[in-house]
């Protein structure tokens, strides 16, 4: 492996990690606050990607500049959060918070099955591709290796901003503190007048927007086709589980680990590259069952 291949693998890994982190951030936030693993999270990612390609295709055909793709990504992410995320929480999840974990898992799994077909109905099975946003930002050359600025600079930048933003939001803003309080003790939070229902709705929408944003940002870099949601939910679960469920900073680190592991495998052992994230997860969990940053929950008896 020569230096330029090494750099390529490194850049691939970082770009990939950034995307996975954004999706995993939503997943782990929802879990951390609501104790629900949203299996349909992967579908929200896929729908974010599909929506973006459709919108970008439509507006570019109307003669808008390619740079218009960027605001459209944000619009798509918000649409995913509001049109799908909000009703999902309000009409469905709200009914099952008191049920067992496995039952909650089955419910979000059912939603996942439904949304997979919704994608097929709306967008068909043909792959979509639109890399306008990628081309707008052009390329950068680092040590003789040319790479897209979109993947090398913009994606990691957004991931870091989201990580820091989320930390700041949860620790230093009123709404963030309300969310943290509700997470720690729902009943106590309600007793001091926090509307836990609204906190949950808000958190779920934010999580859904992050999934949609991940899809929107991924759309210029990959073909969008059925099945991408299933891949992403398992992958982002691998990230979140490796870090420890609910661990935001940990998710950033494991996303990087898994992203780099995968991209180096692509160049070194291409056959096993898709397996690398799972191998990392299994190895970590063998040693630390609660994830790298999770702490074992001691049951009081």
């Amino acid at each position: 492996m020569n230096f330029s291949i090494f750099l390529l693998a490194l850049f691939d890994g970082v770009a990939y990690a950034a995307l996975v982190f954004i999706v995993a951030l939503g997943l782990t936030l929802i879990f951390g606050v609501m104790r629900i693993l949203n299996v349909a999270h992967g579908s929200l990612y896929a729908i974010g990607a599909y929506t973006t390609v459709s919108l970008v295709g439509y507006f570019l055909a109307l003669g808008f500049a390619p740079a218009f793709a960027f605001p459209l990504m944000i619009v798509s992410a918000i649409l995913v959060g509001i049109v799908i995320g909000a009703p999902l929480e309000y009409f469905l999840l709200r009914r099952i918070y008191q049920k067992s974990e496995v039952l909650q898992l089955l419910v979000t799994f059912a939603v996942f099955m439904i949304l997979e077909d919704v994608q097929r109905l709306v967008w068909g099975t043909q792959p979509y591709f639109n890399s306008s946003a990628l081309q707008v930002l052009g390329n950068v050359t680092v040590f003789g290796v040319t790479y897209t600025a979109y993947q090398l600079i913009l994606l990691p930048l957004i991931a870091v901003v989201l990580l820091l933003g989320m930390r700041f939001f949860l620790r230093h803003t009123i709404i963030g503190k309300l969310i943290t309080a509700t997470t720690e003790d729902r009943e106590a939070a309600q007793s001091i007048g926090i509307d836990a229902d609204r906190v949950f709705l808000f958190t779920f929408v934010i999580g859904a927007v992050l999934a949609g944003l991940g899809g929107a940002l991924a759309s210029p870099t990959t073909s969008i086709l059925p099945g991408m949601g299933a891949d992403m939910i398992v992958l982002s679960f691998a990230v979140v589980a490796t870090a420890g469920l609910g661990q935001i900073e940990g998710a950033a680190l494991t996303a990087l680990m898994i992203g780099l592991g995968r991209s180096f495998a692509v160049y070194l052992y291409p056959e096993i590259s898709v397996l690398v994230p799972y191998l990392i997860m299994v190895l970590v969990l063998l040693v630390r069952p609660e994830g790298l940053f999770g702490s074992p929950a001691a049951r009081k008896i």
Binding site: L37, V102, L121, V234, A238, I272, Y278, L286
Partner: protein, 340 residues
């Protein structure tokens, strides 16, 4: 989790079931299934597929009894089918029973390796880690195409039966009645296992692992015992399905297949042995006829139904049947552990 109906007051009248109207329904149902190849030969293959699938669903059902759900049990379905297919492609004309045994052993060995790892987890982690393992195996099948035939899978010819090369019709008969015998035998075994001390210890995982540990039992080992049973059952279903189709593809392991198993288990009545097969039969028949009209939205329909069952009929088909029949009988239904 929707499982046993709590209202059924436990009693020890094991024989109560024998005379209940519901058991007549099972007897009539069995008679119909036995007669299918003669009455409606066009349905034979369909029922064969449904019962093979039912065996796999029974595997998922076992885990539901411990309050666990696996989104990756198609792994064992596929591993057994591929193990059988590998044997057939390397040694054509291998005996049917050898393939069955090798396939199931493959599933059990895989179940042991994955099981030793996943029994450390419950709930979300248990469900998702199983999914991850099935996706790992799926990508192996797709990527190592020189070994596995990739997405096209492996085709193989008919196995021999007791050294006899059978024609298509004869072999299908052997398959049909074998899967029927397996259904009865394994259904009976699983039912007995549920009621046995080891099966009961396994089911306590659902309610109190602390007490289980304080009874001197390792919860992990208790869960592993049921996990191996579930892997073996999925394996039997997979290898029977493989032989019925004459081809195995990565689709055998695909998450959609796992989801289907979970769906049927919940539809039939989570935790019920008969429910697994009843659910599989109904599912397969509806799918065959509905896919003409609703092929594109099949998963959507399944997901919708799953939600409806979970939210409004947590006892599944068996729960509905039992409450329908309970009106006719004053006898209590069988004791809690006795529900097939």
């Amino acid at each position: 989790m929707p499982t046993r109906t709590q209202s059924s007051k436990p009693s020890n009248k094991v024989n109560a079931r024998m005379t209940s109207p519901l058991s007549w329904l099972w007897i009539v149902g069995m008679a119909v299934i036995i007669a299918v190849p003669f009455l409606v030969p066009s349905m034979q293959l369909l029922v064969n597929f449904a019962l093979a699938k039912g065996l796999a669903v029974l595997g998922v059902t076992v885990l539901l009894r411990a309050g666990q759900v696996s989104f990756g049990h198609a792994l064992y379905f596929g591993i057994a089918a591929y193990a059988g297919a590998f044997l057939m492609t390397s040694m054509p004309a291998t005996d049917f029973f050898v393939i069955l045994i090798v396939g199931v052993l493959g599933a059990i060995v895989a179940g042991l390796f994955v099981g030793l790892f996943v029994v450390r987890y419950r709930g979300i982690f248990f469900g998702m880690l199983n999914l991850a393992f099935s996706m790992i195996f799926w990508s192996i099948l797709e990527k190592f195409y020189h070994l596995t035939g990739g997405a096209d899978g492996l085709r193989f010819t008919r196995p021999t039966v007791f050294g006899q090369a059978l024609d298509h019709v004869q072999f299908n008969m052997v398959l049909y009645y074998s899967v029927l015998v397996l259904m009865v035998a394994l259904g009976w075994f699983t039912h007995r296992w549920f009621a046995s001390p080891v099966g009961q210890l396994f089911q306590t995982i659902k309610t109190n692992e602390t007490r289980l540990e304080y009874l001197g039992i390792s919860p992990k080992r208790a869960l592993l015992s049921g996990y191996l049973l579930s892997a073996a059952l999925c394996g039997v279903g997979g290898v029977m399905m493989g032989m019925a189709q004459g081809v195995v593809t990565p689709e055998y392991v695909w998450w959609v297949r796992s989801a289907e198993m979970v769906f049927i288990a919940v539809l039939g009545g989570a935790g019920s042995v008969q429910g697994a097969f009843l659910g599989a039969l109904i599912y397969e028949v509806v799918r065959t006829y509905a896919s003409v009209y609703a092929g594109d939205i099949w998963q959507m329909i399944l997901g919708g139904f799953l939600l409806i069952i979970i939210l409004f009929a947590p006892g599944g088909l068996i729960g509905i049947l039992e409450s329908a029949f309970k009106r006719d009988t004053t006898k209590p239904s069988a004791k809690t552990g006795d529900r097939k």
